[in-house]
């Protein structure tokens, strides 16, 4: 599952083989990627996932243009309005427009989801690569530290950091990143350990490639695929974790237009004003699903054997 760039299957046969890949990389790359792209777009669910995420990004970017009201503006004369009329999705107990809060909520979700995975990915890739490539003492130390962070259930670890830093977007991003990197490091390390022993890596060394070139051209590209696929599916998990933290009252401050906050606010009105928690719930489900589908699609496209 690690030999992404080896050009084993597909019409790449005319091009150079894996061992020569260092010499003429472009030929292999192009046919490889078009192959992967074709497999990805042939997968309807993956395309659906991509579509959901593109729409979400557009909504998040253009939130001020799309939202009919200010998401923070209270209108105490019109609280708990049912959906319809001026307020398409109704208003909450402070008369704030639900649709606008939902639209602005996509910003928090996207920012926190992507930023926290970026933090986790960066820490994980650097430490995982160091551990996997150098081995010995560095490996042991890094992996023991990873064990420590891995031992915290995500939400519990995140709560500890947020207690330290206070509520807000930055603390949530950092806390989720800090307690997610261990998996990335472990994954990359194990990938590197297996890729390091591949014939094409030995061949590259035998041909006299420098250590740096071997890592950069052969080991990393072939090890990173799994990490990137994992990262994609994990953005959804981070978004869910962020909403959960807010729901528990330790995420972003309660007045912020954010999906977890909206569900928590709707909890008190369950059975009476169900629209209050149902729409934000739907938003979270659709978003998480989008990332799961995209991640699965990428995985299948990159490695058809796994399907």
């Amino acid at each position: 599952m690690t030999e992404l760039v080896t050009g084993k299957e597909g019409p790449a046969a005319a091009g150079p083989t894996a061992e020569q890949q260092g010499a003429e990389p472009t030929v292999v790359r192009v046919s490889q990627w078009s192959d992967i792209r074709a497999r990805f777009f042939a997968n309807k669910l993956a395309v659906l996932g991509l579509f959901i995420l593109v729409v979400l990004v557009i909504v998040a970017v253009f939130a001020p243009l799309l939202a009919p009201f200010d998401p923070l503006k209270q209108d105490l004369a019109n609280t708990l309005q049912a959906p319809g009329g001026d307020h398409l999705l109704g208003t909450d107990s402070l008369g704030r427009d639900q649709l606008s809060r939902l639209i602005y909520g996509s910003r928090i979700a996207m920012i926190v989801g992507m930023a926290s995975i970026l933090v986790a990915c960066t820490i994980g890739i650097v430490l995982g690569a160091l551990a996997g490539y150098f081995g010995r003492l560095i490996d042991s130390v890094i992996m023991r530290v990873a064990d420590v962070f891995f031992a915290f259930p995500l939400l519990i670890g995140a709560i500890v950091v947020i207690l330290l830093m206070g509520r807000g977007v930055l603390p949530v991003v950092l806390s989720l990143g800090i307690f997610s990197w261990a998996t990335f490091a472990r994954l990359l390390r194990s990938q590197i350990l297996s890729v390091r022993e591949m014939d094409y890596v030995h061949a590259a060394r035998a041909l006299g490639a420098s250590q740096f070139r071997t890592i950069r051209r052969h080991i990393l590209p072939n090890s990173l695929t799994a990490v990137l696929v994992y990262a994609t599916s994990n953005v959804g998990i981070a978004i869910v974790a962020e909403a959960s933290l807010s729901y528990l009252g330790v995420g972003v401050p309660p007045e912020v237009a954010e999906w977890g906050n909206m569900i928590a606010a709707g909890r008190d009105f369950m059975g009476v004003k169900d629209f209050m928690w149902m729409y934000p719930s739907l938003a979270i489900v659709v978003t998480a699903l989008g990332f799961v589908l995209l991640g699965n699609g990428l995985r299948d496209a990159l490695d058809p054997k796994l399907r």
């Binding site: 031992a151 915290f152 259930p153 519990i156 207690l163």
Partner: protein, 317 residues
């Protein structure tokens, strides 16, 4: 695990893993302690009453009582020393030992987690096996679709939906948990269903992989019956990733329990943690986190040992 040599290797492995376990727990307590006790805000203020009622003498006495006047290193030392004896200190609001407060709550969470794991494994493996045996059938597509959907549904949403359907609309379960088995079913199911979906996916994909293996073809070719091939050759070799996953997910389950317990008011350590956060009750927070971490690493050790016992191919290095 027959010979003396193997037993020796196993013994050394267990000892080494136990050593690692202690290091991990110590590291985790250090991370935790460093986080909590450099927090701004004096927890004693909460015990002494409102700001106006504060008497410097009382505060000083409380600081002494809880050891908050000593340097951080000393506080950490005494915390670890007590921890080794199974003592988690005294809580701030009731002045009772943390272990005494948390023990019944831990039991409640354990009940919830065990019932959830049972749901998890039964639903997950059954769905995974059916999907793999009848690949590309309606069953397979249904399982794949519903597992993908379940993974996308976070427990806050699932919990709300469960409560809405079964408590508000159908009235089958009590709204306020009364600690009985009846009020355990909904939270356990909520906790289990997402993991069950993952278990099903893992079971399905490893089964498919194993079904293509040479030894399975050999088994079929030499005329073994389908149930024998399924049980002895396929299931046995597919179960390892599932066990690993269930072991790891037990820790995630403890994390997920915070949400489920909050939604359903189940009186476990998750709810205790959320309450303690609102009250600035650090000893309880430290206690809950320490317990979660310890439970998680112990479970991981058990999973790894099971692993080695089940699969002779795994070398204990």
């Amino acid at each position: 695990m027959g010979s003396d040599v193997e037993r020796l290797v196993m013994g050394r492995y267990v000892v080494r893993r136990l050593g690692q376990l202690v290091v991990v727990v110590l590291g985790a307590t250090m991370v935790l302690f460093a986080c909590l006790f450099v927090l701004p805000g004096d927890p004693v203020g909460q015990i002494a009453g409102s700001d106006k009622a504060r008497d410097p003498a009382v505060i000083e006495q409380l600081h002494k009582q809880y050891g908050l006047d000593k340097p951080l290193v000393v506080q950490y030392g005494s915390y670890v020393g007590k921890l080794a004896k199974g003592d988690l200190g005294q809580d701030y609001t009731q002045g009772r030992p943390v272990t005494e407060i948390l023990a019944p709550k831990l039991l409640n969470t354990a009940k919830l987690a065990v019932v959830a794991i049972v749901f998890d494994v039964i639903i997950g493996i059954a769905a995974g096996v059916i999907a793999a045996m009848r690949r590309y059938s309606v069953w397979d597509i249904t399982v794949t679709f519903s597992t993908t959907l379940a993974i996308g549904v976070p427990s806050i949403v699932l919990g709300m939906i469960m409560q809405w359907v079964f408590v508000i609309k159908l009235g089958w379960f009590p709204l306020i948990s009364d600690g009985t088995f009846n009020s355990l079913i909904l939270p356990a199911f909520t906790l289990a269903i997402i993991d069950a979906a993952l278990v099903a996916q893992i079971a399905r994909s490893t089964m498919l992989e194993v079904m293509g293996a040479d030894y399975v073809k050999t088994a079929v070719a030499k005329g073994l019956s389908r149930p024998v091939v399924l049980l002895r050759h396929i299931l046995r070799n597919s179960v390892i990733p599932v066990i690993t996953y269930v072991g790891i997910s037990f820790g995630a389950l403890l994390g997920g329990a915070i949400i489920t317990e909050t939604i359903f008011n189940w009186d476990g350590i998750g709810l205790a943690l959320v309450t303690a956060i609102q009250q600035n009750n650090n000893p309880i927070i430290v206690g809950v986190v320490t317990i979660s971490v310890a439970v998680f690493v112990v479970l991981n050790l058990i999973v790894d040992l099971l692993y080695a016992a089940l699969d002779p191919r795994i070398r204990l290095a």
